[in-house]
């Protein structure tokens, strides 16, 4: 049984259909990267899985239980977490408060978990009381991921985690993603600049025009000349 199973999902924004029957499986403990051009439906799939868009057709299961069309706060309770590409932090709240919002559904803030997050992102420790709105793009991305990890989800979905980051931050973020995965969390990543992401992925999928057109292991996709030419910017 897959951790996340997406079957024949069609979805979109109002009258504008974006996904035309997506099938996708994420196995427990794996990292999967979805690549593809703008408008292929990568982000739309994440929003649909997380209940922000209602699918018009298809079925989504998490750990064998259907989650199709559930509201976001109920999906969080099932053990999924999601970091959107933009506006993924609460700017007027401090780092610590941002992380606390990640465990709103719990009765109290698990202090041990808070320490684990600071261990994962040590540069946040000295800025616990700083407003996140004043921080750099890389630091914001760390806060956003930390917020999503507070409930120790079994699947973490990251929408373009390296977009608009300085190169040195990109390396740090991917290194952290591997660390999160080693601790037992499956990760679904959507990326446009996908080479880095495919290098750490167990599997990769290519989306085009609302359909999954190709799937293989991460290294195999990196080695595939056609995909390299079409989607990864040449050699």
């Amino acid at each position: 049984m897959s951790l996340l199973s997406v079957r024949g999902v069609e979805s979109g924004y109002g009258d504008m259909q974006v996904l035309y029957g997506i099938d996708l499986d994420v196995e427990a403990g794996q990292i999967i990267t979805i690549i593809g051009p703008n408008g292929a439906g990568k982000s739309t799939l994440m929003k649909t899985v997380f209940g922000l868009l209602k699918p018009t057709k298809g079925r989504i299961e998490f750990e064998g239980r259907e989650i199709t069309g559930l509201s976001a706060d109920r999906i969080v309770r099932r053990g999924l977490a999601y970091v959107p590409q933009v506006e993924n932090i609460f700017p007027s709240l401090t780092v610590c408060e941002n992380l606390e919002m990640g465990v709103f559904i719990g009765d109290r803030v698990p202090l041990g978990r808070l320490d684990q997050i600071y261990e994962l992102f040590p540069s946040l420790v000295t800025r616990k009381r700083m407003r996140v709105g004043k921080m750099s793009g890389g630091e914001r991305q760390m806060v956003a991921m930390g917020r999503a990890l507070m409930l120790d989800p079994r699947l973490l979905m990251l929408d373009e985690p390296s977009a608009a980051l300085a190169p040195n931050f990109t390396a740090t973020i991917f290194e952290r993603i591997v660390a999160i995965n080693k601790a037992g969390t499956a990760i679904l990543i959507v990326e446009q600049n996908a080479k880095e992401s495919l290098r750490i992925s167990h599997r990769g999928c290519v989306f085009a025009a609302g359909l999954k057109c190709f799937e293989d292991s991460g290294p195999a996709i990196l080695a595939n000349k056609d995909i390299g030419r079409l989607y990864l910017g040449g050699e």
């Binding site: 969080v76 932090i89 919002m101 559904i105």
Partner: protein, 307 residues
């Protein structure tokens, strides 16, 4: 020189009316930041609180609560009890309004929501007029003498001290609530980014319910405080406050409750101090002028975020 000598006294009056404006403004600001619309019914919710206290007052004495004046205040424990119950009643009305009307309009356009709040405003005002009539109704017939602060020559009534300290106390409580409680932090998070709040698992409907509770409670207290200051209430009292309240909220920065307090004090003081130079009949125009100047010079307000 004679004009300048009056200014310290007018500052005190400004502080009193500013306190009331601040309490009203906080609710408008919270509603805007979390629900995303301007609540034009807020003034009439204030009037509702004032009339509920008026209606409950005789029941309090009947229930055996002393009506002996507290210290040098013009009212007794019965009035304080009526104030508390009226506040709770107004909260209940706020929650019901959300449940039967505004919940159905979640995601509707701003214009639709604005018109809905105008409808609620007219509805509430006419209900008050239906039950209590258009004529002024008096909280108390007693006349209170102002005490003179020695040395400064400023006159202030004990009731006015009560008004200012109630407003300051409630603003501090609200600050502690927003800063340190879980639901308070969730309110700030939802105001920042409602969709991320949902993704984080925050129950935004609970946040919205608290927004109505806090906004309605502070409105009810503000309404009763107007009644204490003026000695009487009319069904129009909230509607008349709406313009200076919106001026205060815009001055402070729309959607920022701290800005509402700063803006409320600034508008209150400006209105009162203006009477040293121009006729008191122009007081409402002063709020208008502040509103227009602020919108021209800095539309995001004093404490607003520049985007």
């Amino acid at each position: 020189m004679e004009v300048l000598a009056r200014i310290p006294q007018l500052l005190v009056y400004g502080l009193v009316s500013g306190s009331i404006l601040s309490l009203g403004g906080i609710g408008v600001s919270l509603t805007y930041s979390i629900l995303g619309f301007s609540n034009f019914a807020h003034g009439d919710v204030m009037a509702l609180g004032a009339y509920l206290a008026l209606a409950l007052l005789p029941l309090m004495s009947a229930a055996g609560i002393s009506n002996h004046p507290l210290g040098s205040l013009s009212f007794g424990l019965d009035f304080v009890a009526a104030l508390v119950l009226a506040t709770m009643g107004t909260c209940a009305v706020g929650l019901v309004l959300d449940r039967v009307l505004f919940r159905r309009l979640r995601g509707a356009g701003r214009i639709t929501l604005m018109i809905a709040t105008v409808g609620v405003a007219l509805g509430l005002r006419n209900v008050l007029q239906f039950f209590w009539g258009p004529q002024p109704r008096y909280y108390s017939a007693k006349i209170q003498l102002a005490a003179v602060i020695p040395g400064l020559g400023i006159r202030i009534k004990p009731d006015q001290v009560f008004i200012v300290s109630t407003a300051v106390g409630l603003a501090v409580l609200l600050h502690l609530f927003l800063r340190y409680t879980k639901i308070g932090k969730a309110m700030r998070a939802t105001a920042d980014n409602a969709s991320l709040a949902r993704i984080s698992g925050i129950n935004t409907e609970r946040v919205i319910a608290w927004t109505w509770i806090i906004g309605s409670a502070l409105a009810a207290v503000a309404g009763v405080l107007i009644g204490i200051e003026n000695k009487f209430v009319t069904p129009e009292l909230g509607w008349q406050m709406l313009l200076p309240i919106f001026a205060a909220v815009i001055l402070g920065g729309f959607g920022n409750p701290y800005g509402a307090v700063v803006g409320g004090m600034a508008v209150g003081v400006s209105e009162e101090v203006s009477t040293a130079f121009i006729s008191a009949a122009y007081k409402p125009a002063v709020a208008f002028v502040i509103l227009i100047l602020m919108l021209l010079a800095r539309p995001t307000g004093l404490l607003g975020r520049r985007s």
